[in-house]
């Protein structure tokens, strides 16, 4: 089992709508991702990146094809079974933060633990630890409206991390940030990846993709190309 890839997609298609209005967003996606990988998903707008991420994040199911996560065929699970997978193994950073308004950073981060049934004390401890990882402990009591975009994105990442997930999925985590903040976020993701978390990230910018180990390029609902990233080379260069 451990020799299986963590994530395996076989002939995934996704059709939105039906009849004349039907639109096939994914037209047969095949790929597999190993544990510990850092994948950047790239491609033009509308090529199916978010659709794929939603399927990988067990938020959506493919119209056809097989999606194996840790050996389980996700496409045949019920809604609640997929929820359980999400709360146990997955952390999702959404396109555009998606924090609860009027709720403090710490409470936002604690939220996934609530649904795991952890005690208030445990939630607090883990929440502060996750905020510490993104360097936001001093802002624990602030609501999203009182935080900058970069800080909000880091709260969103802390929320995805707090359950110590196997996989971190991030849909354009730097889409709303300037390049300085973006690089901070990328450094954070790199650190997390080095600590053993498998990271999948959608990005439009080559500069950000450069942090990844693997780059998957989408076009028109299929995987056009899979490349190995430049990061290992950079690291070797830097240390050499």
């Amino acid at each position: 089992m451990s020799s299986d890839p963590l994530i395996q997609l076989e002939g995934i298609t996704k059709t939105f709508g039906s009849g004349d209005a039907a639109f096939q967003a994914l037209k047969g996606v095949d790929m597999s991702i190993e544990r510990g990988d850092f994948v950047a998903v790239m491609g033009p707008s509308g090529s199916g990146k978010s659709t794929t991420m939603n399927i990988l994040g067990c938020l959506d199911i493919p119209t056809s094809g097989i999606f194996r996560f840790r050996g389980t065929e996700v496409q045949s699970l019920t809604r609640d079974q997929r929820s359980l997978l999400r709360r146990r193994y997955l952390g999702f950073v959404f396109q555009g933060f998606n924090l609860l308004a009027r709720t403090t950073a710490l409470e936002n981060v604690e939220l996934p633990l609530l649904y795991r049934g952890e005690s208030k004390a445990e939630r607090r401890k883990a929440g502060l630890r996750a905020l510490d990882m993104v360097g936001l402990v001093p802002w624990a009591g602030h609501t999203p409206a009182e935080l900058s975009g970069g800080q909000q994105q880091r709260v969103a990442i802390a929320r995805a991390l707090v359950t110590q997930p196997d996989v971190l999925l991030a849909d354009e985590p730097t889409g709303n940030l300037d390049s300085e903040r973006s690089i901070e976020i990328m450094e954070l993701l790199t650190e997390l990846n080095q600590s053993g978390i498998t990271v999948l990230m959608v990005t439009h910018e080559e500069e950000m993709a450069a942090f990844a180990k693997t780059i998957v390029r989408f076009r028109d609902g299929v995987v056009e190309r899979i490349e190995s990233g430049t990061r290992s080379a950079q690291i070797t260069e830097a240390s050499g």
């Binding site: 939603n54 994040g57 938020l59 959506d60 809604r79 609640d80 929820s83 359980l84 999400r86 709360r87 146990r88 997955l90 999702f92 959404f94 998606n98 924090l99 609860l100 308004a101 009027r102 939220l111 996934p112 609530l114 649904y115 795991r116 049934g117 952890e118 005690s119 208030k120 939630r123 929320r159």
Partner: protein, 401 residues
């Protein structure tokens, strides 16, 4: 499990506080419904209690018989012989006692006071459960000889006698008749027909007939009967006997009336039952309207918070957990409404009872029932919006602006 439940509870309280005005307006239907029901029931209890007390002051298992006007002319009074016939000839009658009364002015100590003098005997006092605060009732000799002894109503005692000094043994005058005070009645308050039962002087029936009314008629009489007998059969016997004695022809209507305290009690119970039923119906409608208001606002809330629901679902909340959250919110809202209603009803019924002059009879049952009913409203009308929230698709919900 408790963790999530406690957190859900806190969350709903916070959500309610966030929209305080809206929450208040939403629950107004429930507040008014609950307050109305409890106030009506509490006041109803007070009225029942006060009427029951009036009735029991007439005595239990007692008829009151009095002449009435007919088309043939003005009421014909009864006399002593009628009372004796009833007492002796009808099975089940334990005692019968008549009363004659007249208006009189009481004099004592240079003061005067208008009152009424009632001619009765001890049998009457017993049948009507009239008790003495001090002194004694009439002796057999005083009754048969028609002696000039009197028992004061508390109002009369207060009006013309020195306070804190026993009036027993004092001489007083009623119109031109002087008499010796032998007792004082206990306070009885307002009687039937607004008569003040405390502004009265009791004397032996004979005395009043001889010295005040000038004949041997009596204005009404009371009949105490044995509860083991059927009231209907005694009444039939009474009517037959009195018709015969008053020489009424077949087909002529009765020229007297019999009031049965047990029947009045029963009629009162029926009337209050009907009233309660009506109140319940009004309350049900008001609560239904309130419940629909709750459902409406909960649906608005679900729409407003679509994104929040999406986030919760996306980070792993189960459908039933989202459902629980919204259901809890509706139930908490309704329970708060119920509590406000209960507090409001307490103040309202307390004030109204005082204003109307009936006792305030707190009924814990109706308060508890109303509260449970409010909570049930929350479950019934919160269910659909909560279910709708839990059925949202996380991706669509996250996209929602």
């Amino acid at each position: 499990m408790f963790g999530i439940f406690g957190a859900t509870l806190l969350l709903s309280l916070r959500e309610i506080r966030r929209h305080l005005m809206r929450s208040f307006l939403t629950t107004l239907g429930i507040i008014i419904g609950v307050a109305a029901v409890i106030t009506m029931v509490t006041l109803g209890n007070g009225v029942t209690a006060s009427v029951k007390e009036d009735i029991s002051s007439l005595g239990a298992n007692v008829y009151i018989i009095f002449p009435v006007r007919t088309e043939r002319g003005s009421p014909r009074p009864f006399d002593e012989a009628d009372v004796n016939a009833v007492a002796n000839q009808i099975a089940g009658v334990e005692a019968a006692a008549g009363s004659a009364s007249a208006a009189a002015t009481a004099f004592h100590n240079g003061q005067n006071w208008s009152t009424s003098v009632n001619g009765v005997n001890n049998e009457f006092l017993r049948a009507q459960s009239i008790d003495l605060a001090e002194g004694r009732s009439f002796t057999a000799a005083e009754e048969t000889a028609g002696q000039n002894v009197c028992i004061l109503g508390p109002k009369v005692r207060e009006a013309i006698f020195v306070p804190d000094v026993s009036p027993l043994g004092e001489e007083m005058r009623l119109d031109s008749v002087s008499c010796t005070v032998i007792g004082v009645l206990e306070e009885r308050g307002q009687g039937g027909g607004g008569r003040d039962e405390d502004n009265v002087v009791m004397m032996p029936l004979k005395t009043v007939q001889r010295r005040f009314t000038g004949d041997d008629t009596i204005q009404f009489f009371v009949v105490k009967y044995d509860a083991a007998y059927s009231s209907a059969s005694i009444q039939t016997g009474l009517i037959d006997l009195l018709r015969e004695r008053r020489l009424l022809q077949e087909g002529q209507e009765n020229d007297f009336n019999i009031i049965d305290t047990a029947q009045v009690n029963q009629a009162l119970g029926t009337a209050i039952g009907a009233l309660t039923g009506m109140v319940a119906a009004i309350a049900a409608i008001s609560l239904l309207v309130g419940g629909i208001g709750i459902m409406n606002i909960m649906l608005v809330s679900v729409t407003e918070r679509t994104r929040e629901i999406g986030i919760r679902l996306a980070i792993g909340a189960l459908a039933k957990e989202v459902q629980l959250q919204f259901l809890t919110e509706a139930v908490v809202l309704c329970c708060l409404g119920g509590l406000v209603g209960i507090v409001l009803a307490f103040g309202l019924s307390f004030g109204l009872a005082a204003a109307v002059g009936v006792p305030f009879v707190f009924d814990p049952m109706i308060n508890i029932l109303s509260f449970i009913f409010s909570a049930a409203m929350g479950i019934i009308f919160g269910y659909y919006p909560a279910r709708r929230a839990s059925k949202l698709d996380p991706i669509d919900a996250l996209r929602h602006e």
